[in-house]
Amino acid sequence: MSAPAITNDVADRTEDDPATLLGISAGKRLLDDSRRARAMSWVMAVMLFLTVLAGALGLGTMGAARSLDRQLAGRLTVQLVGARDDAVSALADRLRAMPEVGAVRPVPRAELARLLEPWLGDAGLDADLPMPAMIDVDLHDPGDAAFDAVAGRVRAAAPQARVDRNAAWLAPVRSFVVSLAWLAGGLVLLMAGATTAIVLLTARAGLDTHRDTIEVLHMLGSTDIQVARLFQRRIALDTLIGGAVGTVCALATVAVIGTRIADLDSALTSGIGLSAVDWALLAGLPLLFALLAMAAARIAVVRALRQVL
Protein backbone atom coordinates (compact mmCIF):
# COMPACT_ATOMS: atom_id res chain seq x y z
CA MET A 1 0.00 0.00 0.00
CA SER A 2 1.45 3.32 -0.98
CA ALA A 3 1.37 6.28 1.32
CA PRO A 4 -0.62 9.33 0.30
CA ALA A 5 1.35 12.00 -1.45
CA ILE A 6 -0.03 14.95 0.43
CA THR A 7 1.20 18.35 1.45
CA ASN A 8 2.77 18.76 4.83
CA ASP A 9 2.75 22.51 5.22
CA VAL A 10 -0.76 22.89 6.57
CA ALA A 11 0.26 23.75 10.10
CA ASP A 12 2.13 26.79 8.86
CA ARG A 13 -0.82 28.30 7.05
CA THR A 14 -3.15 30.69 8.76
CA GLU A 15 -6.61 32.07 8.27
CA ASP A 16 -4.99 35.09 6.65
CA ASP A 17 -4.16 32.97 3.64
CA PRO A 18 -6.24 34.39 0.77
CA ALA A 19 -7.44 30.94 -0.16
CA THR A 20 -8.44 30.14 3.37
CA LEU A 21 -11.43 27.91 4.03
CA LEU A 22 -14.04 30.53 4.51
CA GLY A 23 -13.09 32.54 1.49
CA ILE A 24 -13.96 29.73 -0.86
CA SER A 25 -17.18 28.18 -1.95
CA ALA A 26 -16.75 25.01 0.06
CA GLY A 27 -16.86 27.05 3.24
CA LYS A 28 -20.42 28.07 2.56
CA ARG A 29 -21.62 24.55 3.18
CA LEU A 30 -19.90 24.02 6.49
CA LEU A 31 -22.95 25.05 8.45
CA ASP A 32 -25.92 23.00 7.50
CA ASP A 33 -28.06 25.16 5.21
CA SER A 34 -30.97 22.74 5.34
CA ARG A 35 -31.45 23.61 8.99
CA ARG A 36 -31.17 27.29 8.28
CA ALA A 37 -34.16 29.20 9.45
CA ARG A 38 -35.40 32.02 7.25
CA ALA A 39 -36.86 33.84 10.25
CA MET A 40 -33.79 36.07 10.41
CA SER A 41 -34.45 37.43 6.91
CA TRP A 42 -38.06 38.19 7.75
CA VAL A 43 -37.14 39.87 11.01
CA MET A 44 -34.57 41.95 9.18
CA ALA A 45 -37.14 42.85 6.51
CA VAL A 46 -39.43 44.22 9.22
CA MET A 47 -36.58 46.00 11.00
CA LEU A 48 -35.37 47.67 7.84
CA PHE A 49 -38.93 48.56 6.80
CA LEU A 50 -39.43 50.41 10.09
CA THR A 51 -35.93 51.88 10.04
CA VAL A 52 -36.30 53.25 6.53
CA LEU A 53 -39.68 54.77 7.43
CA ALA A 54 -38.17 56.37 10.52
CA GLY A 55 -35.19 57.53 8.50
CA ALA A 56 -37.45 59.01 5.84
CA LEU A 57 -39.44 60.81 8.53
CA GLY A 58 -36.23 62.20 9.98
CA LEU A 59 -34.76 63.29 6.67
CA GLY A 60 -38.10 64.69 5.49
CA THR A 61 -38.69 66.72 8.64
CA MET A 62 -35.09 67.93 8.62
CA GLY A 63 -35.75 69.10 5.07
CA ALA A 64 -38.91 70.83 6.25
CA ALA A 65 -37.00 72.52 9.08
CA ARG A 66 -34.37 73.74 6.63
CA SER A 67 -37.08 74.96 4.29
CA LEU A 68 -38.78 76.83 7.15
CA ASP A 69 -35.46 78.36 8.09
CA ARG A 70 -34.95 79.52 4.52
CA GLN A 71 -38.47 80.94 4.34
CA LEU A 72 -38.46 82.62 7.72
CA ALA A 73 -34.91 83.79 8.07
CA GLY A 74 -34.86 87.58 7.79
CA ARG A 75 -38.56 87.82 7.02
CA LEU A 76 -40.79 90.21 8.94
CA THR A 77 -44.26 91.61 8.63
CA VAL A 78 -45.19 95.24 9.26
CA GLN A 79 -48.77 95.77 10.38
CA LEU A 80 -50.45 99.17 10.11
CA VAL A 81 -53.83 99.54 11.76
CA GLY A 82 -56.19 102.16 10.35
CA ALA A 83 -53.68 103.54 7.89
CA ARG A 84 -54.66 104.92 4.50
CA ASP A 85 -53.30 103.33 1.30
CA ASP A 86 -50.99 106.27 0.61
CA ALA A 87 -49.47 105.95 4.09
CA VAL A 88 -48.88 102.26 3.48
CA SER A 89 -47.23 103.01 0.12
CA ALA A 90 -45.07 105.68 1.71
CA LEU A 91 -43.92 103.28 4.39
CA ALA A 92 -43.21 100.62 1.76
CA ASP A 93 -41.10 103.10 -0.19
CA ARG A 94 -39.29 104.09 2.96
CA LEU A 95 -38.57 100.40 3.68
CA ARG A 96 -37.25 99.82 0.14
CA ALA A 97 -34.78 102.62 0.71
CA MET A 98 -33.31 100.95 3.80
CA PRO A 99 -29.97 99.22 3.12
CA GLU A 100 -30.88 96.15 5.28
CA VAL A 101 -34.03 95.45 3.24
CA GLY A 102 -33.96 93.12 0.25
CA ALA A 103 -37.61 92.93 -0.80
CA VAL A 104 -40.83 94.67 0.18
CA ARG A 105 -44.33 93.49 -0.75
CA PRO A 106 -47.49 95.16 0.51
CA VAL A 107 -50.04 92.38 0.90
CA PRO A 108 -53.07 93.14 -1.31
CA ARG A 109 -56.40 93.52 0.53
CA ALA A 110 -57.88 90.71 -1.57
CA GLU A 111 -55.19 88.34 -0.31
CA LEU A 112 -55.89 89.36 3.28
CA ALA A 113 -59.61 88.80 2.70
CA ARG A 114 -58.85 85.31 1.38
CA LEU A 115 -56.78 84.53 4.48
CA LEU A 116 -59.66 85.67 6.68
CA GLU A 117 -62.34 83.94 4.66
CA PRO A 118 -62.57 80.87 6.92
CA TRP A 119 -63.52 83.13 9.84
CA LEU A 120 -65.30 86.09 8.21
CA GLY A 121 -66.68 84.60 5.02
CA ASP A 122 -67.41 87.17 2.28
CA ALA A 123 -67.42 89.97 4.89
CA GLY A 124 -63.68 90.23 4.47
CA LEU A 125 -64.23 91.69 1.00
CA ASP A 126 -66.29 94.55 2.45
CA ALA A 127 -64.28 97.75 1.88
CA ASP A 128 -65.75 99.25 5.04
CA LEU A 129 -64.36 96.50 7.21
CA PRO A 130 -61.37 97.94 9.03
CA MET A 131 -58.50 95.61 8.33
CA PRO A 132 -54.85 96.30 9.10
CA ALA A 133 -52.54 96.80 6.16
CA MET A 134 -49.65 94.39 6.01
CA ILE A 135 -46.26 94.64 4.37
CA ASP A 136 -44.01 91.58 3.95
CA VAL A 137 -40.33 92.49 4.24
CA ASP A 138 -37.28 90.33 3.48
CA LEU A 139 -34.00 91.40 5.05
CA HIS A 140 -30.59 90.73 3.54
CA ASP A 141 -29.28 89.69 6.93
CA PRO A 142 -31.44 87.51 9.20
CA GLY A 143 -29.55 88.68 12.30
CA ASP A 144 -30.97 90.62 15.26
CA ALA A 145 -29.08 93.85 14.48
CA ALA A 146 -30.69 94.28 11.06
CA PHE A 147 -34.14 93.51 12.46
CA ASP A 148 -33.73 95.97 15.34
CA ALA A 149 -32.51 98.70 12.98
CA VAL A 150 -35.39 98.25 10.54
CA ALA A 151 -37.99 97.91 13.31
CA GLY A 152 -36.70 101.07 14.97
CA ARG A 153 -36.91 103.10 11.79
CA VAL A 154 -40.41 101.76 11.01
CA ARG A 155 -41.68 102.71 14.47
CA ALA A 156 -40.09 106.14 14.12
CA ALA A 157 -41.86 106.69 10.81
CA ALA A 158 -45.17 105.14 11.87
CA PRO A 159 -45.55 104.87 15.66
CA GLN A 160 -48.75 102.80 15.33
CA ALA A 161 -46.96 100.16 13.22
CA ARG A 162 -46.38 96.72 14.63
CA VAL A 163 -43.33 94.80 13.41
CA ASP A 164 -43.47 90.98 13.71
CA ARG A 165 -40.57 88.71 13.03
CA ASN A 166 -41.98 85.65 11.23
CA ALA A 167 -39.40 83.36 12.79
CA ALA A 168 -40.70 84.27 16.22
CA TRP A 169 -44.30 83.23 15.67
CA LEU A 170 -43.36 80.13 13.66
CA ALA A 171 -40.73 79.11 16.23
CA PRO A 172 -43.04 76.53 17.93
CA VAL A 173 -43.75 74.95 14.53
CA ARG A 174 -40.06 74.78 13.72
CA SER A 175 -39.33 73.39 17.17
CA PHE A 176 -41.97 70.69 16.64
CA VAL A 177 -40.55 69.78 13.24
CA VAL A 178 -37.02 69.55 14.63
CA SER A 179 -38.29 67.43 17.53
CA LEU A 180 -39.85 65.06 15.01
CA ALA A 181 -36.52 64.82 13.21
CA TRP A 182 -34.69 64.00 16.44
CA LEU A 183 -37.33 61.46 17.35
CA ALA A 184 -36.89 59.80 13.97
CA GLY A 185 -33.12 59.79 14.44
CA GLY A 186 -33.62 58.18 17.85
CA LEU A 187 -35.87 55.55 16.29
CA VAL A 188 -33.21 54.71 13.70
CA LEU A 189 -30.64 54.28 16.47
CA LEU A 190 -33.10 52.18 18.45
CA MET A 191 -33.66 49.96 15.41
CA ALA A 192 -29.90 49.61 14.94
CA GLY A 193 -29.59 48.61 18.60
CA ALA A 194 -32.45 46.12 18.31
CA THR A 195 -30.90 44.68 15.15
CA THR A 196 -27.60 44.23 16.96
CA ALA A 197 -29.38 42.46 19.81
CA ILE A 198 -31.19 40.17 17.36
CA VAL A 199 -27.90 39.34 15.65
CA LEU A 200 -26.23 38.57 18.98
CA LEU A 201 -29.06 36.23 19.94
CA THR A 202 -29.09 34.62 16.50
CA ALA A 203 -25.34 34.08 16.56
CA ARG A 204 -25.51 32.50 20.02
CA ALA A 205 -28.40 30.28 18.98
CA GLY A 206 -26.45 29.33 15.85
CA LEU A 207 -23.43 28.41 17.93
CA ASP A 208 -25.62 26.17 20.03
CA THR A 209 -27.24 24.57 16.98
CA HIS A 210 -23.92 23.89 15.28
CA ARG A 211 -21.95 23.05 18.42
CA ASP A 212 -20.93 19.59 17.18
CA THR A 213 -19.68 20.87 13.83
CA ILE A 214 -17.80 23.70 15.50
CA GLU A 215 -16.17 21.31 17.95
CA VAL A 216 -14.98 19.15 15.06
CA LEU A 217 -13.68 22.21 13.23
CA HIS A 218 -11.76 23.26 16.32
CA MET A 219 -10.24 19.81 16.74
CA LEU A 220 -9.16 19.88 13.09
CA GLY A 221 -7.38 23.17 13.71
CA SER A 222 -9.81 25.89 12.75
CA THR A 223 -9.40 29.27 14.38
CA ASP A 224 -12.16 31.22 16.09
CA ILE A 225 -12.04 33.77 13.29
CA GLN A 226 -12.66 31.06 10.70
CA VAL A 227 -15.72 29.86 12.60
CA ALA A 228 -16.89 33.43 13.16
CA ARG A 229 -16.67 34.09 9.41
CA LEU A 230 -19.16 31.30 8.76
CA PHE A 231 -21.70 33.03 10.98
CA GLN A 232 -20.82 36.50 9.73
CA ARG A 233 -21.48 35.44 6.16
CA ARG A 234 -24.81 33.80 6.95
CA ILE A 235 -26.08 36.63 9.12
CA ALA A 236 -24.89 39.37 6.77
CA LEU A 237 -26.57 37.61 3.84
CA ASP A 238 -29.84 37.20 5.76
CA THR A 239 -29.72 40.85 6.80
CA LEU A 240 -28.95 42.00 3.28
CA ILE A 241 -31.69 39.95 1.63
CA GLY A 242 -34.33 40.68 4.27
CA GLY A 243 -33.19 44.27 4.55
CA ALA A 244 -33.43 44.80 0.80
CA VAL A 245 -37.01 43.52 0.77
CA GLY A 246 -37.96 45.71 3.74
CA THR A 247 -36.24 48.74 2.25
CA VAL A 248 -37.94 48.40 -1.12
CA CYS A 249 -41.35 48.18 0.59
CA ALA A 250 -40.54 51.15 2.82
CA LEU A 251 -39.27 53.29 -0.06
CA ALA A 252 -42.43 52.53 -2.02
CA THR A 253 -44.48 53.57 1.03
CA VAL A 254 -42.45 56.77 1.39
CA ALA A 255 -42.97 57.57 -2.29
CA VAL A 256 -46.75 57.16 -1.92
CA ILE A 257 -46.79 59.34 1.22
CA GLY A 258 -44.68 61.93 -0.63
CA THR A 259 -47.26 62.07 -3.41
CA ARG A 260 -50.05 62.52 -0.88
CA ILE A 261 -48.15 65.35 0.84
CA ALA A 262 -47.55 67.05 -2.50
CA ASP A 263 -51.31 66.81 -3.18
CA LEU A 264 -51.98 68.78 0.02
CA ASP A 265 -50.49 71.86 -1.67
CA SER A 266 -49.90 73.42 1.74
CA ALA A 267 -47.24 76.01 2.52
CA LEU A 268 -46.50 74.23 5.80
CA THR A 269 -45.86 70.85 4.18
CA SER A 270 -44.21 72.11 1.03
CA GLY A 271 -40.75 71.74 2.58
CA ILE A 272 -41.28 68.09 3.49
CA GLY A 273 -39.53 66.08 0.85
CA LEU A 274 -36.52 63.90 0.20
CA SER A 275 -33.57 64.93 -1.91
CA ALA A 276 -31.67 62.51 -4.16
CA VAL A 277 -29.03 62.21 -1.44
CA ASP A 278 -31.75 61.32 1.09
CA TRP A 279 -33.10 58.56 -1.17
CA ALA A 280 -29.57 57.22 -1.67
CA LEU A 281 -28.97 57.23 2.09
CA LEU A 282 -32.18 55.31 2.73
CA ALA A 283 -31.40 52.83 -0.05
CA GLY A 284 -27.98 52.25 1.51
CA LEU A 285 -29.40 51.32 4.92
CA PRO A 286 -29.57 47.52 4.24
CA LEU A 287 -25.85 47.52 3.43
CA LEU A 288 -25.12 49.51 6.57
CA PHE A 289 -27.19 47.12 8.66
CA ALA A 290 -25.53 44.11 7.02
CA LEU A 291 -22.13 45.51 8.01
CA LEU A 292 -23.43 46.15 11.52
CA ALA A 293 -24.78 42.59 11.68
CA MET A 294 -21.46 41.19 10.46
CA ALA A 295 -19.54 43.05 13.14
CA ALA A 296 -22.01 42.02 15.86
CA ALA A 297 -21.92 38.37 14.74
CA ARG A 298 -18.15 38.32 14.71
CA ILE A 299 -17.91 39.80 18.21
CA ALA A 300 -20.59 37.46 19.58
CA VAL A 301 -19.07 34.32 18.09
CA VAL A 302 -15.48 35.10 18.95
CA ARG A 303 -16.44 35.98 22.53
CA ALA A 304 -18.48 32.81 22.93
CA LEU A 305 -15.73 30.61 21.46
CA ARG A 306 -13.21 32.06 23.89
CA GLN A 307 -15.13 30.26 26.64
CA VAL A 308 -14.25 26.87 25.13
CA LEU A 309 -10.81 25.36 24.62
Binding site: M1, S2, A3, P4, A5, I6, T7, N8, V10, A11, D12, R13, T14, E15, D17, A19, T20, L21, I24, A26, G27, R29, L30, D32, D33, S34, D212, T213, E215, V216, L217, H218, M219, L220, G221, S222, T223, Q226, R306, L309
Partner: protein, 235 residues
Protein backbone atom coordinates in the same frame (compact mmCIF):
# COMPACT_ATOMS: atom_id res chain seq x y z
CA UNK B 1 15.45 10.35 18.84
CA UNK B 2 13.58 13.38 20.15
CA UNK B 3 10.45 13.02 22.20
CA UNK B 4 7.22 14.27 20.70
CA UNK B 5 5.17 14.02 23.92
CA UNK B 6 6.17 14.23 27.55
CA UNK B 7 3.73 13.95 30.47
CA UNK B 8 4.90 14.65 34.02
CA UNK B 9 2.65 14.01 37.02
CA UNK B 10 -0.40 14.85 34.99
CA UNK B 11 -3.77 14.76 36.68
CA UNK B 12 -7.19 15.34 35.14
CA UNK B 13 -10.40 15.95 36.99
CA UNK B 14 -13.78 16.78 35.46
CA UNK B 15 -15.53 19.38 37.59
CA UNK B 16 -15.43 18.47 41.25
CA UNK B 17 -15.38 14.73 40.65
CA UNK B 18 -12.53 12.36 41.44
CA UNK B 19 -9.39 12.41 39.32
CA UNK B 20 -9.88 10.54 36.05
CA UNK B 21 -6.16 10.49 35.48
CA UNK B 22 -3.65 10.58 38.33
CA UNK B 23 0.10 11.11 38.34
CA UNK B 24 0.48 10.20 34.69
CA UNK B 25 4.08 10.40 33.55
CA UNK B 26 5.42 9.05 30.27
CA UNK B 27 7.30 10.01 27.17
CA UNK B 28 6.47 9.20 23.55
CA UNK B 29 9.28 9.02 21.04
CA UNK B 30 8.95 10.79 17.72
CA UNK B 31 8.13 8.32 14.97
CA UNK B 32 7.20 5.42 17.27
CA UNK B 33 3.98 3.37 17.26
CA UNK B 34 2.05 2.96 20.51
CA UNK B 35 -0.98 0.98 21.51
CA UNK B 36 -2.94 2.27 24.46
CA UNK B 37 -4.96 -0.44 26.12
CA UNK B 38 -7.15 -0.62 29.15
CA UNK B 39 -10.64 -1.51 30.27
CA UNK B 40 -13.61 0.73 29.54
CA UNK B 41 -13.60 3.71 31.88
CA UNK B 42 -9.91 3.31 32.65
CA UNK B 43 -9.15 6.74 31.21
CA UNK B 44 -8.03 5.99 27.65
CA UNK B 45 -10.23 8.58 26.00
CA UNK B 46 -9.32 11.19 28.64
CA UNK B 47 -5.65 10.58 28.00
CA UNK B 48 -6.17 10.88 24.25
CA UNK B 49 -8.08 14.15 24.78
CA UNK B 50 -5.04 15.54 26.55
CA UNK B 51 -2.91 14.37 23.64
CA UNK B 52 -4.99 16.04 20.96
CA UNK B 53 -5.50 19.19 23.04
CA UNK B 54 -9.23 18.87 23.58
CA UNK B 55 -8.64 19.15 27.30
CA UNK B 56 -6.12 20.80 29.58
CA UNK B 57 -4.86 18.87 32.62
CA UNK B 58 -5.79 20.03 36.09
CA UNK B 59 -2.22 19.51 37.24
CA UNK B 60 1.16 18.45 35.97
CA UNK B 61 3.00 19.40 32.80
CA UNK B 62 2.61 18.27 29.21
CA UNK B 63 5.18 19.00 26.56
CA UNK B 64 4.06 18.57 22.97
CA UNK B 65 6.34 19.10 19.97
CA UNK B 66 8.90 20.48 22.41
CA UNK B 67 6.60 23.15 23.85
CA UNK B 68 4.61 23.44 27.05
CA UNK B 69 1.08 22.51 26.02
CA UNK B 70 -0.48 23.39 29.38
CA UNK B 71 0.28 27.08 29.24
CA UNK B 72 0.03 27.28 25.46
CA UNK B 73 -1.97 30.40 24.56
CA UNK B 74 -5.38 29.62 23.09
CA UNK B 75 -4.45 31.46 19.91
CA UNK B 76 -1.72 28.89 19.20
CA UNK B 77 -3.90 25.83 19.66
CA UNK B 78 -5.11 25.67 16.01
CA UNK B 79 -1.53 25.51 14.75
CA UNK B 80 -0.77 22.66 17.14
CA UNK B 81 -3.98 20.82 16.34
CA UNK B 82 -3.15 20.91 12.64
CA UNK B 83 -0.07 18.88 13.45
CA UNK B 84 -2.17 16.16 15.09
CA UNK B 85 -4.53 13.83 13.26
CA UNK B 86 -7.41 12.50 15.33
CA UNK B 87 -9.69 9.54 14.69
CA UNK B 88 -12.56 9.92 17.12
CA UNK B 89 -14.29 6.90 18.56
CA UNK B 90 -17.62 8.25 17.28
CA UNK B 91 -16.04 9.42 13.97
CA UNK B 92 -17.41 12.97 14.27
CA UNK B 93 -17.90 13.41 10.57
CA UNK B 94 -19.82 16.52 9.53
CA UNK B 95 -23.13 14.89 8.56
CA UNK B 96 -24.21 17.30 5.83
CA UNK B 97 -20.85 17.22 4.04
CA UNK B 98 -19.98 14.51 1.53
CA UNK B 99 -17.22 12.00 2.21
CA UNK B 100 -15.05 14.04 -0.16
CA UNK B 101 -15.66 17.29 1.70
CA UNK B 102 -15.15 15.66 5.09
CA UNK B 103 -11.77 14.36 4.01
CA UNK B 104 -10.84 17.70 2.45
CA UNK B 105 -11.79 19.63 5.59
CA UNK B 106 -8.35 19.72 7.31
CA UNK B 107 -6.71 20.96 4.11
CA UNK B 108 -9.35 23.61 3.57
CA UNK B 109 -9.05 24.74 7.18
CA UNK B 110 -5.34 25.08 6.62
CA UNK B 111 -5.85 27.26 3.59
CA UNK B 112 -4.67 24.80 0.95
CA UNK B 113 -5.86 26.06 -2.46
CA UNK B 114 -8.74 24.09 -3.99
CA UNK B 115 -6.56 23.10 -6.94
CA UNK B 116 -4.16 21.33 -4.56
CA UNK B 117 -6.88 19.51 -2.65
CA UNK B 118 -8.34 17.28 -5.33
CA UNK B 119 -5.39 14.93 -5.83
CA UNK B 120 -4.75 14.12 -2.14
CA UNK B 121 -8.45 13.65 -1.41
CA UNK B 122 -8.82 11.28 -4.38
CA UNK B 123 -5.76 9.38 -3.22
CA UNK B 124 -7.03 9.13 0.35
CA UNK B 125 -10.40 7.86 -0.85
CA UNK B 126 -8.64 5.18 -2.88
CA UNK B 127 -6.40 4.37 0.07
CA UNK B 128 -9.36 3.61 2.32
CA UNK B 129 -11.19 1.85 -0.51
CA UNK B 130 -14.05 4.32 -0.82
CA UNK B 131 -13.44 5.97 -4.20
CA UNK B 132 -16.96 5.12 -5.23
CA UNK B 133 -18.52 6.82 -2.20
CA UNK B 134 -16.94 10.26 -2.60
CA UNK B 135 -20.27 12.05 -2.93
CA UNK B 136 -22.03 10.04 -0.22
CA UNK B 137 -22.93 11.74 3.01
CA UNK B 138 -22.06 10.10 6.32
CA UNK B 139 -25.63 9.11 7.26
CA UNK B 140 -25.76 6.97 4.11
CA UNK B 141 -22.47 5.21 4.91
CA UNK B 142 -22.04 2.12 7.10
CA UNK B 143 -20.19 2.38 10.42
CA UNK B 144 -17.08 0.89 8.88
CA UNK B 145 -17.19 3.27 5.92
CA UNK B 146 -17.62 6.24 8.22
CA UNK B 147 -14.65 5.06 10.24
CA UNK B 148 -12.51 4.84 7.13
CA UNK B 149 -13.56 8.34 6.08
CA UNK B 150 -12.67 9.55 9.60
CA UNK B 151 -9.26 7.93 9.27
CA UNK B 152 -8.70 9.45 5.84
CA UNK B 153 -9.61 12.88 7.27
CA UNK B 154 -7.20 12.37 10.15
CA UNK B 155 -4.22 11.51 7.98
CA UNK B 156 -4.72 13.69 4.89
CA UNK B 157 -2.82 16.57 6.43
CA UNK B 158 0.13 14.22 7.01
CA UNK B 159 0.13 14.91 10.77
CA UNK B 160 3.23 14.59 12.89
CA UNK B 161 1.19 12.60 15.38
CA UNK B 162 -1.89 10.46 14.78
CA UNK B 163 -4.19 9.71 17.70
CA UNK B 164 -6.88 7.09 17.09
CA UNK B 165 -9.53 6.06 19.58
CA UNK B 166 -10.73 2.51 18.86
CA UNK B 167 -10.25 2.94 15.11
CA UNK B 168 -11.06 -0.68 14.30
CA UNK B 169 -14.10 -0.97 16.52
CA UNK B 170 -16.63 -0.87 13.69
CA UNK B 171 -14.87 -2.76 10.93
CA UNK B 172 -14.50 -6.42 10.05
CA UNK B 173 -11.18 -8.18 10.74
CA UNK B 174 -9.96 -7.77 7.15
CA UNK B 175 -10.62 -4.05 7.17
CA UNK B 176 -9.10 -3.77 10.66
CA UNK B 177 -5.92 -5.29 9.36
CA UNK B 178 -5.95 -3.01 6.33
CA UNK B 179 -6.38 0.02 8.53
CA UNK B 180 -3.56 -1.11 10.76
CA UNK B 181 -1.32 -1.43 7.73
CA UNK B 182 -2.42 2.05 6.77
CA UNK B 183 -1.33 3.36 10.18
CA UNK B 184 1.89 1.42 9.92
CA UNK B 185 2.58 2.95 6.50
CA UNK B 186 2.03 6.39 7.92
CA UNK B 187 4.24 5.52 10.89
CA UNK B 188 7.00 4.42 8.55
CA UNK B 189 6.86 7.87 6.99
CA UNK B 190 7.66 9.36 10.39
CA UNK B 191 4.28 9.96 11.97
CA UNK B 192 4.02 9.04 15.63
CA UNK B 193 0.94 6.85 16.05
CA UNK B 194 -1.05 6.30 19.22
CA UNK B 195 -3.92 3.82 18.89
CA UNK B 196 -6.29 3.15 21.76
CA UNK B 197 -7.84 -0.29 21.50
CA UNK B 198 -9.49 -3.10 23.39
CA UNK B 199 -8.43 -5.59 20.79
CA UNK B 200 -5.35 -7.42 22.00
CA UNK B 201 -5.10 -9.27 18.70
CA UNK B 202 -4.11 -6.03 17.07
CA UNK B 203 -1.06 -5.65 19.28
CA UNK B 204 0.74 -8.50 17.61
CA UNK B 205 0.13 -7.13 14.11
CA UNK B 206 2.63 -4.30 14.46
CA UNK B 207 5.84 -5.93 15.62
CA UNK B 208 7.64 -2.77 16.63
CA UNK B 209 4.72 -1.19 18.45
CA UNK B 210 4.93 -0.35 22.16
CA UNK B 211 2.20 -0.86 24.65
CA UNK B 212 0.81 1.59 27.17
CA UNK B 213 -1.66 0.20 29.63
CA UNK B 214 -3.98 2.38 31.63
CA UNK B 215 -5.72 1.17 34.78
CA UNK B 216 -7.74 3.26 37.16
CA UNK B 217 -6.46 6.49 35.66
CA UNK B 218 -2.80 5.52 35.96
CA UNK B 219 -0.55 4.63 33.07
CA UNK B 220 1.41 1.44 33.44
CA UNK B 221 4.55 0.82 31.50
CA UNK B 222 4.77 -2.95 31.05
CA UNK B 223 7.58 -2.82 28.48
CA UNK B 224 9.53 0.06 30.01
CA UNK B 225 9.35 1.85 26.68
CA UNK B 226 7.50 4.81 28.12
CA UNK B 227 10.16 5.65 30.66
CA UNK B 228 12.92 4.80 28.22
CA UNK B 229 11.61 5.72 24.78
CA UNK B 230 12.84 3.51 22.02
CA UNK B 231 14.88 4.71 19.12
CA UNK B 232 13.17 3.59 15.99
CA UNK B 233 14.92 4.45 12.75
CA UNK B 234 12.73 6.29 10.30
CA UNK B 235 12.46 4.76 6.91
Amino acid sequence: MANIVQFENVGLRYGTGPETLSDVSFTLATGAFYFLTGASGAGKTSLLKLLYLAQRPTRGTIRLFGEDAVTLPRSRLPGFRRRIGVVFQDFRLVPHLSAWDNIALPLRLSGVPEADIEAPVREMLAWVGLSGRARSKPPTLSGGEQQRIAIARAVIGRPEMLVADEPTGNVDPDMAERLLHLFDSLNRLGTTVVVATHDFDLLSRIPNAHMMRIEGGRVLDPTGSLRFPPGRPQS
